[in-house]
């Protein structure tokens, strides 16, 4: 890694700051720490972070609101720390532009993996557009709309290809049901998640070695789907 990534850690809890900030620094990230939503929005402008780790339960602003305000200033990925078991706020934040989440209590590796994925996406976005994506033994050829598994071509319907392509372009990042429905069927489809379930089942049958226990197309319960391209390291 030649570049030093700047991470903004937003959490009002001192103990989280004291545990997480040194952890991130130990991995070579530059870390700025703020404790309130207002400071976070300000720091996004001042510090120009490459990634933001945002706790949803801030004292001054709703986490979703912080997310929305930060998105006006930056396209840096936002990883949410959520102490709430309720999914609604998490999903709302993801829909408002957050990229991923970890639920407290989380382990350090979980958080670091999410951060790595998000930062890799930043690098990829800066690199020239990729034409081929390799996920496990699957190769996706975007310009030709072809998918190869091993030596054989997998025949996908246009919608199936759209779904796979969408997830592959956002590999390792969770996409909410709403985001997927909007991207593939348009904004009117957000209330019809059954489209997505059916399509996902078809796609899994064609892509997954064992559709009953998916390896690539992972469901994030109540939130959305994620295409896993990396191993867990």
């Amino acid at each position: 890694m030649t570049r030093t990534w700047r991470i903004l850690l937003v959490d009002d809890d001192v103990s989280i700051q004291r545990a997480v900030a040194p952890l991130l620094r130990s991995r070579g990230y530059h870390v700025d720490v703020v404790g309130t939503g207002h400071d976070a929005v300000k720091a996004v402008g001042d510090k120009k972070p490459d990634l933001i780790v945002l706790d949803l339960g801030l004292p001054d602003l709703e986490g979703v609101e912080v997310c929305r305000q930060m998105r006006q200033d930056t396209r840096a990925p936002i990883v949410i720390l959520s102490a709430r078991s309720g999914e609604a706020e998490k999903v709302a934040a993801l829909d408002l532009g957050a990229d991923d989440y970890v639920t407290k209590p989380f382990g350090p590796e979980e958080l670091l993996a999410r951060i790595r994925v998000a930062l890799r996406r930043v690098s990829e976005a800066e690199a020239p557009t990729v034409e081929l994506v390799q996920v496990g033994d699957i190769t996706i050829d975007f310009p030709r709309h072809r998918v190869i598994r091993g030596a054989d071509e997998v025949r996908l319907t246009p919608k199936e290809f759209d779904l796979l392509a969408l997830l592959a372009r956002n590999a390792d990042r969770v996409l909410t049901h709403r985001a997927i429905l909007t991207a593939i069927w348009g904004p009117n489809a957000v209330d019809q998640p059954e489209h997505l379930w059916v399509l996902m089942a078809q796609l899994r049958k064609k892509i997954e070695p064992d559709p009953a226990t998916p390896r690539y197309l992972i469901s994030e319960p109540w939130v959305g789907y994620r295409l896993v391209s990396m191993s867990a390291d």
Binding site: D12, D13, S15, A19, P22, S26, L58
Partner: protein, 451 residues
Amino acid sequence: MTATAAMGFLIVVLFVAATSPLWVAVVTSFAAVIAFNFFFLPPVGTLTIADPQNWVALVALLIVSLVGSNLSAVARARTQESEARRDELARLFDLSRDILLVTDSQAANASLAGFISRRFDLQYVAICMPHGSEWVVFEAGSNRVTLDPRDLSAAFQNLDGGRAPSIGESVRLTPLRLGTRPIGLLAVSGRPMESGTLDAVAGVAAIALERAQFLDDRKAADVARQSEALKSALLASLGHDLRTPLTAIRVAASNLQASWPDERERKEQSDLILTEVDRLTRLFQNILEMARIDAGAVTQNTRWVAPSEIIEAARSAVEPSLRGRPVQIAADVERLVRLDPRLTAAALSQLLENAAQYSPAGSPIDVHASVGDEGLTIAVRDRGPGVPEPDLPHVFERFHRGANAKGRRSGTGMGLAIARGVLAVERGQIAAENCPDGGARFTMTVPAEVK
């Protein structure tokens, strides 16, 4: 001359009729006719009548007197009746007002009979409600009548005519109905009462019973709702207060395992773990304490103790949470109080902890203890921002965390509720206020013997 005399007699008769009962008026009428005949109709001095025309005059006088007496009596009866009705209405009104003033359902059923007996001057009133094969009877009045449940059941079974039979000679039964459905019996004795009045009383009583039932239901619904709200507040609070320290501990422990931290960072991470474990321990203790208070498992164990001893115990219990904030103590040293020192100190330590949480680091906390006739009063005053006015009535509610506390993770929203709960066991009280010159003051009072 005779005509004038006849008119005179007539006036006397009508006057008597207007003021006396009908029979007096009738007797007066006949007396007037005889006197008229005797003194004024020729031959004067005898009861014989010479001229047949005078018979006509005599009979006319008699008829007019009787009719006048009768009319007057009817008019007076009407007046009395309407007065009685007004009186009855006034009593019914008073009765319904009595009923409306009772807001507690338990008291409502028990006091209903009393209200009826008082408002209608009855020596015995009973509200009888069937309860399976038994009868629940609420009685009132100066007389005591033994009601046989079998009589009541028999009467209740045979209500079809609408009128329940009497029991014995004196006790009258009236069905209590909601709509047309009989729900019980009203038994009265001591004073004859009109059926209409009894029906009206029974109607009011039935409404009162229904109202009591309604109050009961509403209270049960309130209790259910509160306990539901409490549960979700507890879950939300635990969800939040457990996850954050657990995350910090997990990450810090992993950091300790890793190779990167140097000696200083290792110390920092292990300190962090210890702090968070303390926080979880306190949370856990608070939950236990709250559960013990709820379960009524906290009991009082009094002994003679000096107020300063209690303050010292409370202070040392929360020493780590004070983080160096000096505690300035002003205590009455001369006198001893008899109370439960453990409970009192527990309540006080919650107040101290609360003061430490909501005041700037290093600012002093004042503790003022005074002993008076009412017992021990301890006031804790901090130099924080005070309690926002809208939060003042709620600070002792469980899981209530004021606007200032939002995001202040160290609080659990249980401390002040525990203080109040512990003090309630001691029949003590607690109050919160803002000092005019800044900071919040919490004052707890524990009733105690003093020497």
